[in-house]
C-alpha cells in the first residue's frame, strides 16, 4: 500500500538578485507505508524544501502531495497527520521533558491521565524512562535528540519527517542513533522520510535512498543499488569514494570488454550493453582494487593511515588521475614511493549509464 505520493512537485524561489531558482523541479516520489526513505544530496539540492512541503511549511507551485489518498495541499501544518524531528530539535525550554513530549496531546485536548500514559510509553521507546521531570537544558545532546523523537511520535503520526536530526551529534553517538532510529522505525511500523547530506548515514539506515541534485531526483534505489550501480557520475561521486575512468571500448570478448583510457591504461569491464568504439565512464571503489603482481602499474604517492586500513594514492605509470586504493595495513604494506600493480575483478567495475 502506498503511503505518501508526490507527483510533479514544483517550487521555485526568487533570489535576492531577482533570479528564479527551482528548489523542486518536478519531483515524483512514492514512499511505502512502512518504509525508511532518505533524501540525500548536497545543500541546496531541494531535499529540505521537499520535506517542508510535506510538513506544510512550504507550499508547492504545482503538483500534489497525497498521504493515504488524501491531498495535503489544503491542510495547514497543524492539521497534517505528519510530525517532524527538527535539526535544532526545537525543544520548548520552558517546559519539562514530559510536557514537551506530551505537547501534541495537550494541544489536542487529551486528558491528563491518557497523556501521562502516552508520554511514559513514548519516553520508554526512546530509552528515556524516568527523565520526564527534567528540563531540556539539563540533558545532553543525545538525550535532547531522543526527547525530540519521543515528542514527534507520541501522537502516532502516519509519517515521520526527520530533518538532519543527527548532524549535531558526535560520531559515536551518531552511529548508535542511526541503528536505534532504524529499529524504532520498524517497530513503529510507520514511514520515515529522512533528510541528510551524509551519505554514510543514508547507506546505514535507509530502505531506499533518493539522491537529489538541483531540485531533481538523480536516482532512487536501495543503498546497495545506489552504491554499486550509480546511474550518473554525480551519484557515483557523491556516494562514497570513487575512482572514475574515462575509456573507449577496444573490443568485446564474451562477457568482458577491453577498454583503454586516453593515457593507455587497459581496463577490463563487464560487456553488458557495450559496443566497440563506445566512450564509457567506469566506476571502481577504492576497496575494489587489490595489490597484485600484475595489472595497472603505478607508484604510491601517498599512504594515509586509517587504523586497520591504509588509503593509498597511486599514480599510474601511464598517466591520468591518481587512483585511490584501500589496502590492509601490515608489515608488507607499501610505503610512499613503492612501485605497485593494481588488479580488480572485472565484474566489480560499473559502467555509468550517463556521463
Amino acid at each position: 500500500m502506498a503511503s505518501l505520493e508526490i507527483r510533479a512537485a514544483r517550487r521555485h524561489f526568487v533570489t535576492p538578485e531577482g533570479g528564479r531558482v527551482a528548489a523542486l523541479d518536478g519531483i515524483d516520489l512514492t514512499v511505502g507505508a512502512n518504509e525508511f526513505v532518505t533524501l540525500l544530496g548536497p545543500s541546496g539540492c531541494g531535499k529540505t524544501t521537499l520535506l517542508r512541503a510535506i510538513s506544510g511549511f512550504e507550499a508547492l507551485d504545482s503538483g500534489s502531495i497525497r498521504l493515504d489518498g488524501t491531498d495535503l495541499a489544503a491542510l495547514p501544518p497543524f492539521k497534517r497527520p505528519v510530525n517532524t524531528v527538527f535539526q535544532s530539535y526545537a525543544l520548548f525550554s520552558h517546559m519539562s521533558v514530559a510536557r514537551n513530549v506530551g505537547y501534541a496531546l495537550e494541544v489536542r485536548g487529551v486528558d491528563r491521565k491518557a497523556r501521562e500514559a502516552a508520554v511514559e510509553s513514548a519516553l520508554a521507546k526512546v530509552g528515556l524512562t524516568g527523565m520526564g521531570g527534567r528540563r531540556p537544558n539539563q540533558l545532553s545532546g543525545g538525550q535532547r535528540q531522543r526527547v525530540a523523537l519521543a515528542r514527534s511520535i507520541v501522537a502516532e503520526p502516519r509519517l515521520l519527517l526527520l530533518d538532519e536530526p543527527l548532524s549535531a551529534l558526535d560520531r559515536n553517538l551518531r552511529q548508535q542513533m542511526q541503528i536505534e532510529l532504524k529499529t524504532l522505525q520498524s517497530r513503529l511500523g510507520i514511514a520515515f522520510v529522512f533528510v541528510t547530506h551524509d551519505q554514510e548515514e543514508a547507506l546505514t539506515m535507509s530502505d531506499r535512498i533518493v539522491v537529489m541534485r538541483a531540485g531533481r531526483i538523480e536516482q532512487i534505489g536501495t543503498p546497495r543499488e545506489i552504491y554499486r550501480h550509480p546511474r550518473t557520475r554525480f551519484v557515483a561521486e557523491f556516494i562514497g569514494e570513487t575512482n572514475l575512468f574515462h575509456a573507449t571500448v577496444d573490443r568485446i570478448e564474451g562477457a568482458q570488454a577491453l577498454a583503454r583510457t586516453a593515457q593507455g591504461v587497459e581496463m577490463l569491464l563487464p560487456a553488458t550493453g557495450l559496443r566497440r568504439g563506445q566512450a564509457v565512464t567506469a566506476v571502481l571503489r577504492p576497496a575494489d582494487f587489490s595489490l597484485a603482481d600484475q595489472g595497472i602499474a603505478g607508484r604510491v604517492t601517498r599512504a594515509v593511515y586509517l587504523g586497520s586500513d591504509l588509503q593509498l594514492y597511486v599514480q599510474p605509470d601511464a598517466g591520468g588521475e591518481e587512483i585511490r586504493v584501500t589496502a590492509r595495513d601490515g608489515a608488507n604494506a607499501p610505503a610512499t614511493g613503492a612501485a605497485v600493480h593494481l588488479s580488480y575483478a572485472p565484474e566489480a567495475a560499473h559502467v555509468l549509464e550517463a556521463a
Partner: protein, 280 residues
C-alpha cells in the same frame, strides 16, 4: 603574572568610579535621617520623623479623616498625591506599551510586508528624538485637537515612546528565538493561537518582563515630556519635585527619594532574578 602597581591603580580607579556614581545616592539616603528641618545639609541628629510623617500622612489621607491643616503638611500631601499619580501613570503606561511593543515585535519579525525596514526604523525614532521635541510636539498636538491636559494626556505621551522601548527589548529576544520552535508547535498540532499562548509568549517572557520593568521605571522617572503634557492639577512626582526645588527643598524629599531608590533596587533585583530563572 600581575603587575602590583597596575592592579592597585585599577582597583583604586574602580572604587573611585563607583564612589562617583553612588555618592549622591548615599548622601540623599543619609540626609533622609537628618533631623534638622531648616537646613538639611547641616547634620543635627538621627531621626525617622520624615518617614513617619510620610507614612502617617499617607494613612490619614487614605482614611480621609484628617484634612491637612498647616501649609507645611499640605505640601507633603501634594507630594504624596504626585507620587500616587506617578504610580498610576506608570502602571497604566506599562500595561499599554508592553502590549503594543510586544505585538509589534512579533508582527515585525514573523510577517513579511512592504516597507518593513522603514516601519522598523520609524519605531526607533521616538527613542532617539530629544524628549523636549517630543514634549512640545505632544503638547501642540493635544492643544490642536482640543484635548484637555490631564492624566490621560500624560499616559498617552508616555506610551508614545515607551512602546518603542518595549518593542526593542522584545524584538531582541525574538531575534534570538529559533523559528523552528513555532514550527514545531504547529507541526505537533497547535493552532496559531495555541502556539502564541503556549510557546511564543512563554519564550518571550523574559524580554516582555524586562521591557515592562524598563517602561515602568522610565515612566516613573520622566520629567521633560510629562512637564509639557501634564495639566495643572495632575503633576507626577518628578514634576512636583522639580517645581519644589525652586521654592526650597523639604526634608521629606530625601525620604521619598530613598524609598524610590529602595523600590528601584527591588524592581531591578526582581528583574535580574526572573531573567536568571527564565533564560537558559
Amino acid at each position: 603574572m600581575r603587575n602590583p602597581i597596575g592592579w592597585a591603580s585599577l582597583t583604586l580607579f574602580s572604587l573611585g568610579f563607583f564612589a562617583f556614581i553612588y555618592a549622591p545616592l548615599f548622601v540623599i539616603i543619609g540626609y533622609s535621617f537628618n533631623s534638622n528641618p531648616v537646613n538639611m545639609m547641616v547634620w543635627d541628629h538621627f531621626t525617622l520623623d520624615w518617614y513617619r510623617g510620610l507614612f502617617g500622612l499617607a494613612r490619614e489621607q487614605l482614611s480621609g479623616s484628617v484634612m491637612p491643616a498647616s501649609g507645611y503638611v499640605e505640601s507633603t500631601g501634594h507630594m504624596l498625591a504626585a507620587l500616587r499619580n506617578s504610580l498610576m501613570v506608570a502602571s497604566i503606561t506599562t500595561v499599554i506599551s508592553t502590549v503594543i511593543g510586544t505585538a509589534t515585535a512579533i508582527a515585525l519579525s514573523r510577517f513579511r510586508f512592504r516597507l518593513k525596514g522603514f516601519y522598523s526604523g520609524f519605531l526607533m525614532l521616538p527613542m532617539m528624538m530629544p524628549d523636549i521635541v517630543l514634549g512640545i510636539g505632544l503638547l501642540i498636538f493635544f492643544v490642536t485637537i482640543g484635548m484637555q491636559l490631564s492624566m490621560l494626556t500624560i499616559i498617552i505621551g508616555h506610551c508614545t515612546f515607551l512602546s518603542s522601548y518595549v518593542f526593542i527589548i522584545v524584538q531582541a529576544r525574538m531575534a534570538g528565538l529559533d523559528p523552528a520552535l513555532e514550527e514545531a508547535s504547529a507541526d505537533l498540532g497547535a493552532s496559531e493561537w495555541l502556539t502564541l499562548r503556549k510557546v511564543l509568549l512563554p519564550q518571550l517572557a523574559p524580554g516582555i518582563l524586562g521591557g515592562a520593568l524598563l517602561a515602568f521605571v522610565i515612566s516613573m522617572d520622566d520629567l521633560v515630556i510629562t512637564y509639557f503634557v501634564a495639566g495643572t492639577d495632575n503633576t507626577t512626582l518628578p514634576v512636583y519635585i522639580f517645581g519644589m526645588i525652586r521654592r526650597g527643598v523639604k526634608p521629606e524629599i530625601n525620604a521619598i527619594a530613598t524609598l524610590i531608590i529602595l523600590a528601584s533596587v527591588v524592581i531591578a533585583a526582581a528583574g535580574l532574578w526572573l531573567r536568571a530563572r527564565k533564560t537558559d
